[in-house]
Point group: C2
Chain length 110, copies 2
Amino acid sequence: MNKSLICPRFEKAMSIISQRWTGLVIYQLLHGPQRFSTIEAAIGISGRVLSERLKDLEQEGIVKREVFPETPVRIEYSLTDKGLSLKPLMKDIEKWSQTWLDPVDAGSDK
Amino acid sequence: MNKSLICPRFEKAMSIISQRWTGLVIYQLLHGPQRFSTIEAAIGISGRVLSERLKDLEQEGIVKREVFPETPVRIEYSLTDKGLSLKPLMKDIEKWSQTWLDPVDAGSDK
DNA sequence: TAAGTTAGTTACTTATTGTAAGTAATTATA
DNA sequence: TATAATTACTTACAATAAGTAACTAACTTA
């Protein structure tokens, strides 16, 4: 079971992109380096999960974490080259959504 | 809480694409119309969830379900125009994975 | 000393998935 | 005729992931 016939690299890419919230986190970071609380507020993710996702994305080499020892401490998250390379993809999704999703529908909660 | 500042249409698109398995189901259907059990085997999804996803995707107008009253009954799932319009996106993901993911790494179960 | 920052973490609840067995409709086989 | 097979699901239950809210650490300011 669970032995798929699909290219493992594609599958891996999908597993990154299709993990809940990762897409939005990356999209948000396209606006530039940001701190934890900014991302949290911008996309409406819970701190618990954001913390988890940022760690995963750092592991994948998609996100970079930088500490600025100011007061209070400032920690900035930004995209690496690998992360930035996802920009065209994000733009495609944006374009698709504008072409194929009805504005009214899109806003309604489930 | 949970009031994001991101464009609702983009968010909706993301919520479709980033739902577990939907990407792989769509990708698989790019190969042409297929029956339930074929998709199931191809991507390694459980029947329970596949059934759920296909219903969702049909709702979204991305997938079409057709019944052929043969024996045993044949039911084919295929992409609608809206579904097919996701093809360039899928190809981009494929390309990205080939450029940025290490083949060894990608295969390892985490 | 108390209260305010930011960036998390922890404990606990709720939601989503996975697993495996079961069902319905029909035909083939012993 | 009873049993088995096939496909496309559904159901019940266990396991994993996400949401919520309170809490911590390491400062600084009032």
